[in-house]
C-alpha cells in the first residue's frame, strides 16, 4: 500500500528532524479533541476537557500527545515496514483500547495540519503529499491486526 519513494522519505525525515515533539504532541492530540469532540470518548480519565483552552492546556493531553508522536517518530525510522513496527500497537488498540481505526485517520490529518501551522511555506504541496502517504500508512498499519 504505502510505497515510499526516496523523495517521500527525504520529505518525511527531513521535516521530522525539525519537529519539537513536546510542542507538536500536545498540539496534535489537543486539536483532535477540540476539532472532533467525540474523540474525547477515549479520555474520560484525563480531567477537564470542557473547552478548547482547557483541552490545549491539559497536561495529560500533552503527555499523551508526546507519547503518540514519539511512537510515530520510531515508525519514521522504519518506513518500509510500518506493519511490523505497529503490529503490537495494533493489537493493543483493538483488544484493550477498542479504538475505531477511523480515529487514526482523523489524527493523521490533524498532525498534517499541525505540521502546516508549524512549518508554513516549508510544508509545500509536495511535502504534504509525502506526509499524507505516511499517515495513511500508519493508520493502515495500526488497523492491520484488528479482528
Amino acid at each position: 500500500m504505502s510505497n515510499f519513494t526516496a523523495e517521500d522519505k527525504a520529505a518525511i525525515t527531513g521535516l521530522w528532524a525539525k519537529v519539537n515533539v513536546e510542542d507538536a504532541g500536545g498540539e496534535t492530540l489537543g486539536r483532535l479533541l477540540v476539532v472532533y469532540p467525540w474523540t474525547q470518548r477515549f479520555f474520560d480519565s484525563f480531567g477537564s476537557l470542557s473547552s478548547p483552552s482547557a483541552i490545549m492546556g491539559n497536561p495529560k493531553v500533552k503527555a499523551h500527545g508526546v507519547k503518540v508522536l514519539t511512537s510515530l517518530g520510531e515508525a519514521i525510522k522504519n518506513l518500509d515496514d510500518l506493519k511490523g513496527t505497529f503490529g503490537q500497537l495494533s493489537e493493543l488498540h483493538c483488544d484493550k483500547l477498542h479504538v475505531d481505526p477511523e480515529n487514526f485517520r482523523l489524527l493523521g490529518n490533524v498532525l498534517v495540519t499541525v505540521l502546516a501551522v508549524l512549518h508554513g511555506k516549508e510544508f509545500t504541496p509536495e511535502v504534504q503529499a509525502s506526509w499524507q502517504k505516511m499517515v495513511a500508512g500508519v493508520a493502515s498499519a495500526l488497523g492491520s491486526r484488528y479482528h
Binding site: E27, G30, R31, V34, V35, P52, I55, M56, N109, V112, T113, V114, A116, V117, L118, H119, G120, K121, F123, P125, E126, Q128, A129, Q132
Partner: protein, 142 residues
C-alpha cells in the same frame, strides 16, 4: 449541524485576511489536492493540471470565491449555494468523499499561511464550516 455565533465570528473575521490572498489560496489548495489525492484528478481530464497552469489558477479562484460567498451569507449558506448545489448534484456529480479531501487541503493551506490565526478553536470552526458547505453541496444528490 449548525454554526455557533462564536464560530461564525471566527470565520468571518479570518475571511477578511484570507480574501486578500484568495486566488493564490485557491491554486495552492488544488495543487495540494491533486498531489496528495491523485484520484481527484479524474474529475479534470480536460484540464492542464501542471502547477502554474492558467486553468488551475482560474478554477482555484472559482472555488475560493464560492467559499467566500458562503462566508458572506454565513447565516444562510443553503440559499447562497443553491445553484452550486444543483450543479454538483446534476452535472458534476463529484463523489461526496472528495469534499472532505478538498476541505482538508484548504485547511492545510490556511494553516500554512495564517499560523498565528489558525488556533485550535479556529481550526475547529473552519473544519465545521467546510463540513456545512460540503453538506449543502451534496444535499440534492439523491
Amino acid at each position: 449541524m449548525s454554526l455557533t455565533k462564536t464560530e461564525r465570528t471566527i470565520i468571518v473575521s479570518m475571511w477578511a485576511k484570507i480574501s486578500t490572498q484568495a486566488d493564490t489560496i485557491g491554486t495552492e489548495t488544488l495543487e495540494r489536492l491533486f498531489l496528495s489525492y491523485p484520484q481527484t484528478k479524474t474529475y479534470f481530464p480536460h484540464f492542464d493540471l501542471h502547477p502554474g497552469s492558467a486553468q488551475l489558477r482560474a478554477h482555484g479562484s472559482k472555488v475560493v470565491a464560492a467559499v467566500g460567498d458562503a462566508v458572506k451569507s454565513i447565516d444562510s449558506i443553503g440559499a447562497a449555494l443553491s445553484k452550486l448545489s444543483e450543479l454538483h448534484a446534476y452535472v458534476l456529480r463529484v463523489d461526496p468523499v472528495n469534499f472532505k479531501l478538498l476541505s482538508h487541503c484548504l485547511l492545510v493551506t490556511l494553516a500554512a499561511r495564517f499560523p498565528s490565526d489558525f488556533t485550535a478553536e479556529a481550526h475547529a470552526a473552519w473544519d465545521k464550516f467546510l463540513s456545512v458547505v460540503s453538506s449543502v453541496l451534496t444535499e440534492k444528490y439523491r
